[in-house]
């Protein structure tokens, strides 16, 4: 039995070698771990799309491999170690909670490059971090919401009170205030990244409180679907969700990780990979707006203009004058916020009637 097993395994190995023999060079192995299932149509799905873009771009020159639904903690450390040992040259760890495991495994595999999304620890030469300026898209959404909401009140389903989410709320509000200075936003903290039932309940509660537009920083399609049932408008999240709510979605912030992944894999192939901390936005093509739908032409035009201004670098959503919630001045007229300051944002801007949960 054992002998048969060994000979079969050997045969399998020979077979797989046979298919590879046609190529001049072994393919570069590119790997990823996802916190959710790749079928979530949100966050993990988009990261996997980025990996598929890598495969499409490089073809036979790369081989992709991934582990989905990896729990944050010791399981993540084992998953990363397994990938590193399986011959991966570069590993994308795509959730914040993979931060410590990524750095621990990186210490043991100095020849493997690690890319950690949304974190801040780069303890070893072979760890880079990357994230996207989703708040640029949220500013555009705010402009649209300010124009589209008849009552001037939006509902915002937030996940966790971390800087990324808080800067998103602020950017959304600044966008809305730019067209309607009296705009209000009601915020529900869902304390989850993805939980369709909880997100749907939050959306229902917000609509019952009288909001007539919904946006979210959680990953499922549920809030948009509730908005569709109740006949109000909403925004998609992370991917284009138009097929889940064809008459409801105004636009969506699409996380396009493809360009970054292709660039980094190219660097590994060329041998030019270096540690970096990349925070790309619309300009770099990392943040893309889904088509503007279900809105009048003038709103669509304004949204496109705003997007173009951010994309060209002409306009930064965090440009003064901006006051903090308590009325104190944050940015003077014309002053632009430093990235480092935005990345640690822990306060609301003026006009938001909510308290950051602590």
């Amino acid at each position: 039995m054992k002998k048969a097993l060994v000979s079969f395994a050997a045969a399998a190995a020979v077979l797989s070698l046979g298919t590879m023999g046609a190529m001049a060079q072994d393919p570069t192995k590119v790997c990823a771990i996802y916190v959710g299932p790749i079928g979530d149509y949100g966050y993990s799905y988009q990261h996997h799309q980025g990996m598929l873009d890598v495969k499409e771009h490089f073809g036979d020159k790369v081989e992709i491999s991934y582990l989905e639904n990896v729990a944050e903690g010791p399981d993540a450390e084992r998953a990363l170690e397994r990938l590193a040992r399986s011959g991966c040259k570069i590993v994308f760890a795509t959730s914040f909670g993979f931060m410590d495991p990524t750095n621990k495994v990186a210490a043991r595999f100095p020849d493997v490059k690690f890319e950690h999304a949304t974190g801040y620890k780069r303890e070893h030469e072979n760890v880079s971090t990357y994230n996207s300026k989703f708040h640029e898209g949220r500013y555009v959404q705010g402009v649209i919401a300010g124009k589209m909401s008849e009552k001037g009140v939006a509902g915002y389903i937030a996940s966790f009170p971390i800087p990324e989410v808080i800067m998103g709320i602020n950017a959304f509000m600044l966008g809305a205030q730019s067209v309607n200075p009296d705009f209000k936003v009601k915020i529900v903290w869902a304390n989850t990244w993805i939980d369709p039932a909880k997100e749907a309940d939050a959306a229902k509660a917000l609509i019952d409180q009288g909001v007539d537009i919904i946006t979210q920083h959680t990953d499922s399609t549920a809030p948009l679907q509730v908005a569709a049932e109740r006949g109000i408008k909403g925004f998609g999240q992370a991917s284009d969700m138009i097929k889940f709510a064809p008459e409801t979605q105004l636009t969506s912030i699409v996380d396009d990780w493809g360009p970054y992944y292709i660039e980094r894999v190219q660097a590994v192939i060329d041998g030019s990979w270096k540690q970096s901390d990349v925070w790309g936005g619309m300009k770099e093509g990392h943040v893309v707006m889904a088509p503007y739908t279900n809105m009048p032409d003038d709103v669509k035009k304004l949204a496109e203009e705003t997007e173009a201004k951010i994309k060209s670098g002409e306009f930064n959503p965090f440009t003064g004058p901006i006051s903090k919630q308590d009325g104190s001045e944050w940015l003077k007229e014309g002053e632009v916020a430093e990235d480092s300051e935005v990345l640690q944002m822990n306060f609301y801007i003026k006009g938001i009637d909510d308290k950051i949960p602590n």
Binding site: L5, F8, A9, A12, P37, S65, Y66, L67, E68, N69, A71, E72, G73, P74, D75, E77, R78, A79, E81, R82, L83, R85, S86, F96, G97, D100, Y120, F160, P161, I162, P163, I166, N191, Q344, N346, P357, N358
Partner: protein, 367 residues
Amino acid sequence: MRIELVKRPQHSALFSALSPFIALALTLVAGAIMFALLGKNPVQALYLYFIDPLREVWSLHELAIKAAPLILIGVGLSVCFLSNNWNIGAEGQFIVGAIIGSILPVLFPEFQSWIVLPIMLLLGIVGGAAYGSIPALLKVRFNTNEILTSLMLVYVAQLFLDWLVRGPWRNPEGFNFPQTRSFHEFAILPELLPASGRANWGFAFAIIAAIVLWFLLSKTLKGFEIKVLGQSPRAGRFAGFSNARMVFFAFLVSGGLAGLAGISEVSGAIGHLQPSISPGYGFTAIIVAFLGRLNPLGIVAAGLVLALSYLGGEAAQISLGVSDKVARAFQGMLLFFVLASDTLIHYRIRLVGRQAAPAAEAPHGNA
């Protein structure tokens, strides 16, 4: 027409011994069919599942890490289940052990000494045991159903941990992310053989606990008491054993071991507290306890087998590109066949016609 399970008057010793192997063989066959239907090479898939993770030293370490909490909790639960106490809340006792054990490194990070780790482990045991004593107290005093109370307390523990790491225990330098500060070096459970992999002392604790409980159950009067009270509380009372005291004993032992597993996991494998510290070890350990037939040494083997199925599932995901759902389905098949084989050794299936009167069986429980 309906199907009934009828208890066999006596069961075959031969088949009892063969049962795990029959189950394994059936799993291999069913698994091979599943992989073949998915268009994957079944022999390669099974090889990846069961052999590949055992071929390398680092992987054996990972096996020990994954199995340690399952074994530690599982052996504790065997005392509960043998004495007819249905503790379903080991997950909660695991979490509370981890929380109480983490008090020193989280709240007093400047207190750094070799004494920190022993205190943490002790506090972990105390925390888990104290949390386990709640359903025990409710059962003894108010005759509440411990299945419900212990299960409900799991959610309380999970939400309490969630609140702690987002609120008062959050790392002040952590940009509002929901984590406590990282444990300092004196609060980290050391690795067993640092040169070859990262398995920590948690695995040693699990083995020691299994041996001690095996001795207790099979060689001592206490072990006899546990089994008598489990099988026949009335006979136990005639022998002068106190059922109330046994309820506390069982919950304190299993809660304490779950707490030790919790603090070992946090201190050895994670290094800080975060909203989720267990992928359901407390629940999986229930399966492990029964797979090991409530025998502590059997539970060691069962814990290793279940851990192997997790590791094999990952290897199959990477090498074959199958979804993690396939890995779970395969694990489910393994458990199904093991439990079905065991059941069919003790029971036989009888088809009952409509007219036959149902044979009422006397209910078990505390008469």
